[in-house]
Amino acid sequence: MSVLSELSHIHVDKARSAEDRRAQRRAAGRDNKSGYLFLLPWLIGLFVITIGPLIASLYLSFTEYSLIQPPTWIGVDNYLRMLHDARLHNALRVTFTYVIVGVPLQLILALAIAVLLNQGMRGLAFYRSVFYLPSMLGASVAIAVLWRQMFGVDGLFNQVLRLFGFEAKTGWISDPRYALWTIILLHVWTFGSPMVIFLAGLRQIPGMYYEAAAVDGAPRWRRFTKITLPLLSPIIFFNLVLQIIGAFQSFTQAFVVSNGTGGPSDSTMFYTLYLYQRGFGEFEMGYAAAMAWLLVVIVGALTAINFWASKYWVFYDD
């Protein structure tokens, strides 16, 4: 069970009748003390590190606060400011482009390679390692450094293009038209971790389904769309939701590639990077808190839409 299916199945635990509920309460009473003792560290974390700050940031979003003087209440001014902040709108556009292009590309590639690898290939372990490795390194500053070199004017990418006779004078990182795309490419490069999840899912599909389809003479593509895709849909859904949430929070690569500026001309100004600049560059903590809440609302809404849409395409066979 993934995080998501757990969440949607959570009501199953509920007792059905009053009698059940009483019995459950009796049984539940048994471990109350130990239960809460074991849970204590997590509960402290939940309230001190998560829920407390969550409420505090909601409050701060209605204030002006620069860390030096106590916060002053300014009502919805931060939110009104967001309506007119052109750089914020640009940051939203950049981030949405990144998510809408990068996430599906990465997942399609992950799925395609996983399906290919699942066909009883020799060297599966080798290929899996090679494809998985970049996703374990991809979040590091070192890889962002490499990307900066690779897509510079005389970087590796242009050098290779020149080998093939192209003129290749574009600085991909320094041209506002392309800078974002190099970071999207970096995201696609890390398709290994969803691929590993797909591979695990593919192995759960009973072989008899394919055997039956083969006996019926179903062509390969048919077998993929009628067996593999439906049975894998919960995992596609899982990857989609988590990758979208993760992609909205991307920070390191844009920060390093643009040297913290989000440039050239704000073309790599990710939402989180702009939030960082406002909050920790300018110490506009109130505005940063408001931005953070907008992010939660956006991510929450997208996740809700995803859950709603999943009714129409995600297939649970249990």
Partner: protein, 306 residues
Amino acid sequence: MTDLTARTEFEAPPAFDPSGGKVTATPYHRTRGMVRSVVKHLLLLAASLVMIYPLVWMLVSSLRPTDVIFRTPGLWLNDLYVKNYTEGWNALAQPFGHYMINSAIVVIGAIAGNLLSCSLAAYAFARLRFRLKTLWFSIMLVTIMLPFQVVVVPQYILFNQLGWVDTFIPLVLPKFVATDAFFVFLMVQFIRGIPRELDEAARIDGCNHWQIFTRMMIPLMIPALATTAIFTFIWTWSDFFTPLIYLTSPESYTVPVALRSFLDSTSGSNWGAMFAMSIISLVPLFLAFLFGQRFLVKGIATTGGK
């Protein structure tokens, strides 16, 4: 998916061949199958090359003078330009080893914190029955998906008021209160795969929950603990945002922040040394991946399944 309990058998049984291995009996089919297989391997090898080439090239380039780096897309090395490493190592206020030690301290603290706090919470969620458990469990699942930016500003203010900015405490302490809820979930999944009869037998023998947890669960949970440790290692080692906001003085920098300040200070002129230090910073990640891959694959399969 609770097949994590098969602890010794990490490789799943060979998957059924959907390409129809059983109906390719005729010579025509066999040839076609072979061509298909060769094409597939060529495709995958080409993809592997594209994926890995930049990494290998960076490794090779870290042994070249900067001007050669910018003219040589190939991998042939005429001689080893080790100067990149000695220069890079001493390019910042502290030798690079200093930042590696800082990172190591943070990583070890984070691993210890996650192992301890997440396993406690996971045992409660998976095995104990207590009031409001369903509610807490749902909240835990939601926090996995909560963007951390929404809590980062007040957290910063809190740690700032406690005087903990520019210490490792804000980087390590949250791990001791199970804020990486993803691992709680991973361990819950794992414990669910351990037969309950074992607990019940221990209960009958008079063990209390603490004894069951420490003497029985912990040893049985070692694969899940290993997965947690390795993921924590990789994520904490490359974490950039948290040290960026909390570590203000260069002496306390961790490796990612040090690398980035190096990039800043040379403004991209000494790429050889940059590459050399980048490679050094990747080595621990690579080793963790190399030796921990089976745990990573297994762990990711447990939490990502349907």
